[in-house]
């Protein structure tokens, strides 16, 4: 259902609609495959997956394509592939495998998980892809939390982040730094760095209660909202469907997120629990950051809205991730919750 709404919005945003349909169909295949795949076997594959992730990210640096000033794409059989999208899912799998090695999170394991995340995060940050890096950090934090890390451990992570924050401006690219500045005051450069933010806010705001109607958003249809099929797809959605539509969308995401946690709760083992929890964190972080930047409460970073935004790699990776969670749910502890219910929910996400 989310994907269907996504298709409608992407269509409205003039993107390559036919392709996105193809991505969703491929993603559905990935979902089915992942669901039927016994997730437990992933655990033994984790090391290989991790190595593959590093390799593919390195490949991006060496032979990748450049678009909008960042090197993020690889060509695979003529299709552009954005490995950082895939890497989010791989990270969840790898972290779940690593953190499920013990019942408690020792300081040693805590440090190990940081060392695990650092290399791919650095590779992605230097693409540069701030958005995905944020997701990485969010997933790390969230999964450590779910894995039962102590308050001290979590606090030290927050503290490290706090220390690193002042350094951020030096690490960021010029345009990323500008984005942060204009986030604080978007009117200071309404046609340059602040343009995206202003136009997106205007689009969201002009949606009103009921919206302008599908294909009737002035801002979106006339091209004022930039990146309208990807990063700012939510602005288009909000302009055309209004507050009610947006709330329905958020509610759908909320439902999906709760169901993901349910899957984690009923998982038969720690790996499955962390796997489902990781997908939960991954989606939560992306939804929050994407919607947040669209309505101007968070600074702009290039993050797609899961299942809604246009983009092959992201859609397929996301559906495959949901498929894995479904796999976890199907092989759950045989006690509570009937199978049928979870099936319906995840199918809804797919349709």
């Amino acid at each position: 259902m989310l994907a269907a709404l996504g298709l409608m919005t992407v269509f409205s945003a003039h993107a390559d609609w036919g392709r996105q349909v193809l991505w969703v169909i491929l993603g559905a295949g990935g979902y089915a495959a992942a669901a039927s795949f016994d997730y437990r076997r992933l655990r033994s594959l984790a090391l290989g997956l991790y190595a593959g992730m590093i390799l593919i990210l390195l490949a991006v640096h060496l032979v990748g394509h450049t678009a909008l000033g960042a090197r993020r794409w690889l060509s695979v059989a003529g299709f552009p592939l954005e490995p950082s999208e895939l890497s989010k899912l791989l990270l969840v799998v790898v972290l779940a495998a690593y953190l499920s090695r013990g019942e408690r999170i020792s300081w040693r394991m805590f440090g190990g998980s940081l060392l695990l995340v650092a290399p791919p995060a650095c590779l992605i940050l230097t693409q540069p892809d701030l958005g995905t890096t944020i997701v990485f950090v969010g997933v790390l934090f969230g999964m450590l939390f779910l894995a039962g890390a102590s308050a001290w451990q979590l606090f030290s992570l927050v503290f490290a982040g706090g220390v690193a924050l002042p350094l951020l401006p030096y690490l960021l690219h010029g345009y990323q730094r500008r984005r942060l500045e204009v986030f604080l005051d978007p009117t200071q450069d309404p046609l340059g760095a602040g343009y995206n933010l202003m136009q997106a806010r205007i689009a969201v705001g002009s949606g009103g209660l009921f919206g302008q109607g599908w294909l009737h958003g002035l801002q979106g249809q006339l091209g004022f909202v930039p990146e309208r099929a990807t990063d700012f797809v939510f602005a288009i959605f909000a302009e055309e469907f209004g507050l009610l539509g947006s709330l329905v969308l958020l509610a759908l995401f909320g439902t999906l997120l709760i169901r993901l946690l349910r899957a984690a709760a009923v998982s038969r083992d720690r790996f499955g629990e962390l796997l489902a929890g990781g997908v939960f964190v991954m989606i939560l972080v992306q939804v929050v950051e994407n919607v947040g930047m669209n309505i101007g409460v968070l600074p702009i970073a290039g993050i797609p809205l899961p299942l809604i935004s246009y983009g092959g790699s992201a859609t397929i990776a996301m559906l495959a991730g949901l498929g894995l969670v479904q796999s976890v749910a199907l092989r759950r502890r045989t006690v509570d919750e009937p199978v049928a219910e979870l099936g319906t929910i995840t199918r809804r996400a797919q349709a």
Partner: protein, 604 residues
């Protein structure tokens, strides 16, 4: 329980987003929706054609022609930095302007306004760019009206010119709806009648997409052409004045002069010339720095409109004021005989006549005809400076005439207080600051500190010819709208009356009549030109640049005709002219001949 914690966090965050979203969409919704409309709706100003300026018979003195230039809408430039840079580079190549300058111009402008870039386009450039236009996003070729002035060297000082608004103009005119980049009259009639000529700009409201392409037109208000102005000027007489003055200047190796011809009955200006003139067309196309500094640094000061703003001592042409004052105040009568020695001694100071011999005893008419300085020294001393100043002002001296253009200067009628205020010495009762008898008697022959302009001189002689009534000098005959309907007609306006009896004025005019008739030499010019000496004239060779003998002079001649019922009054001024009766008078005679030969056409 960690899972429950995570769920609560998720619910809280998503709920928070929903609240913020509701706030944004419901509370700010109306404002932001308005901004969305502003984004898409744009008002394009349709510049109104400026009114045409004609002479009194409908000969156009300026035309509107179309020229093409490039305009850029910043919001229409390509989004992607690289494409944008490439397009800027191409624009820089086309216009020949540096890329940084173009970028700076565009950044400074309203993102949705069309900004003119580069110089005007030639025919060849126009064709070349037309082919490239489809790939140059946000760029358009725009036609705009430009003023082309007819015979700018002859009419330029009257008609003036227009130019783009500068900062100061814009600040002043913004409330009247002027937009940056619009043109406004800078000098002459173009400036004086700006509001009449300008017309009413129209607009069209269009819906544009982010690339500046028009999606549809929402509404149109067509522009209204500005009103046409018909001047009182006769174009042929203006040309004749200019030619006669120019020929006179060339003959005597002079470079600057001015002449004003008015109808004494109405105050209408029939011609108004200041030489040298300059090409006002240079200004309408954006004058180059070289041309502009050339005009500014030219020692002959072509930009100065001497006819209205050149202030010079009137010299002997002022003697009719002294005569009128003396007659009216009862100091002399028409038959009072005074001597005309070669000099007089006042308190030990010697004041010379122009002649080094005595001209004998004479009445006031003959004193005017012979321009006897010593006669008028005596008369001025009898009248006194205060009364002289009063009569001078009554004849329009020291007043900026309300001609329909900016820059009209008043000249100067000095008095005791003025002298004390400007003497520059702390002690206001020192000799340098106190008015003395010498000041008074030289005042009587139009020297002292007295200053006038060629326009003031014409107004003055017209008043003499018009029974002492001063008329407001006017350049505008009537104003018509674009359809030819007369919307405003000039009516003669009496601005004052010289307190003098008809008989006394007749005595003064008689002196002017004698001057141009036998036995005086001045008559030679009329005979030579075959023009009857029917009227009255007065020469003036005014010293300037200090006091003493052998000072440089300006040459004046003031004239009215015919004698019985005057219908023209004029002033002729030759800057640095040494001999008014040789340098200024013949020019007036040439003008008079043209007037007589073409009177029917001029008066039609």
């Amino acid at each position: 329980m960690r899972l429950v914690g995570a769920a609560s966090v998720a619910v809280l965050i998503v709920g928070g987003l929903a609240v913020k979203l509701a706030y944004l969409q419901m509370t700010d919704g109306a404002i932001l929706a308005g901004m969305a409309r502003d984004n898409t709706l744009h008002r394009i100003i349709l510049e109104a054609d400026r009114g045409i300026i004609y002479d009194r018979h409908g000969a156009a003195l300026v035309t509107n022609s179309a020229i093409w230039s490039l305009e850029v809408v910043r919001a229409g430039l390509p989004f992607e930095a690289r494409a944008r840079t490439a397009e800027l580079a191409e624009l820089a190549r086309i216009t020949g302007e540096p890329e940084e300058k173009l970028a700076a111009t565009l950044v400074a402008a309203d993102p949705y306004a069309s900004v003119r870039i580069g110089p005007d386009l030639s025919q060849a450039q126009q064709l070349a760019i037309n082919e490239r236009l489809p790939v140059l996003a946000g760029v358009s070729m725009v036609q705009r009206g430009v003023r082309t002035y007819v015979d700018p060297l002859v009419f330029g000082h009257v008609v003036g010119y227009v130019g783009p608004l500068n900062e100061a103009d814009l600040k002043r005119l913004r409330p009247l709806g002027y937009q940056p980049g619009e043109v406004v009259g800078k000098v002459g009639i173009e400036a004086g009648l700006e509001t009449v000529l300008r017309g009413q700009n129209g607009w069209t409201d269009v819906e544009m997409d982010a690339r500046g392409q028009i999606v549809r037109t929402v509404g149109v208000q067509p522009p209204t052409t500005g009103h046409s102005v018909y001047l009182s000027l006769d174009a042929d007489l203006q040309r004749a004045t200019s030619q006669a003055l120019a020929a006179g200047l060339v003959r005597d190796h002079k470079t600057a002069g001015a002449s004003v011809v008015v109808d004494p009955r109405t105050g209408e200006v029939l011609s108004l010339v200041s030489l040298p003139g300059y090409d006002t067309n240079l200004f309408t196309h954006g004058i180059s720095q070289t041309d502009y500094s050339g005009l500014l640094n030219n020692p002959d000061r072509p930009l100065l409109n001497r006819a209205i703003a050149g202030q010079y001592a009137p010299g002997s042409t002022f003697k009719m004021v002294t005569a009128t004052a003396a007659l009216e105040e009862g100091k002399i009568t028409a038959s009072t005989m005074l001597s005309c020695p070669s000099f007089i001694n006042v308190n030990g100071w010697i004041y010379h006549n122009w002649a080094s011999y005595s001209l004998g005893w004479m009445n006031v008419a003959k004193a005017l005809a012979t321009s006897c300085d010593t006669f008028f020294y005596q008369v001025a001393a009898m009248v006194g400076d205060v009364t002289l100043a009063k009569y001078a002002r009554a004849f329009g001296f020291g007043q900026a005439q309300s001609l329909e253009m900016p820059g009209v200067m008043p000249g100067l009628v000095p008095d005791r207080i003025w002298k004390q205020l400007q003497c520059g010495v702390p002690d206001l009762n020192s000799d340098a600051c106190r008015w003395n008898t010498g000041d008074t008697i030289t005042f009587g022959i139009g020297q002292s500190y007295l200053l006038t302009t060629p326009l003031n001189q014409a107004v003055y002689v017209a008043a003499l010819a018009n029974s002492g009534q001063t008329m407001r000098p006017t350049l505008v005959h009537e104003v018509r709208d674009a359809s030819g309907r007369v919307v405003q007609t000039q009516h003669p306006e009496v601005t004052g009356s010289v307190p003098a009896s008809a008989a006394n004025l007749m005595t003064v005019r008689e002196g002017m009549r004698q001057e141009i008739n036998p036995p005086y030499n001045m008559n030679y010019w009329f005979r030579a030109a075959g023009v009857p000496a029917d009227g009255g004239g007065k020469t003036g060779t005014a010293q300037w640049g200090g006091s003493g003998l052998d000072l440089p002079t300006h040459a004046w001649f003031v004239f009215f005709a015919p004698y019985a019922q005057p219908e023209v009054a004029m002033s002729v001024f030759v800057e640095r002219g040494e001999l008014s009766e040789v340098q200024a008078a013949p020019i007036a005679v040439q003008l008079m001949r043209f007037y007589r030969d073409h009177v029917a056409a001029i008066r039609s």
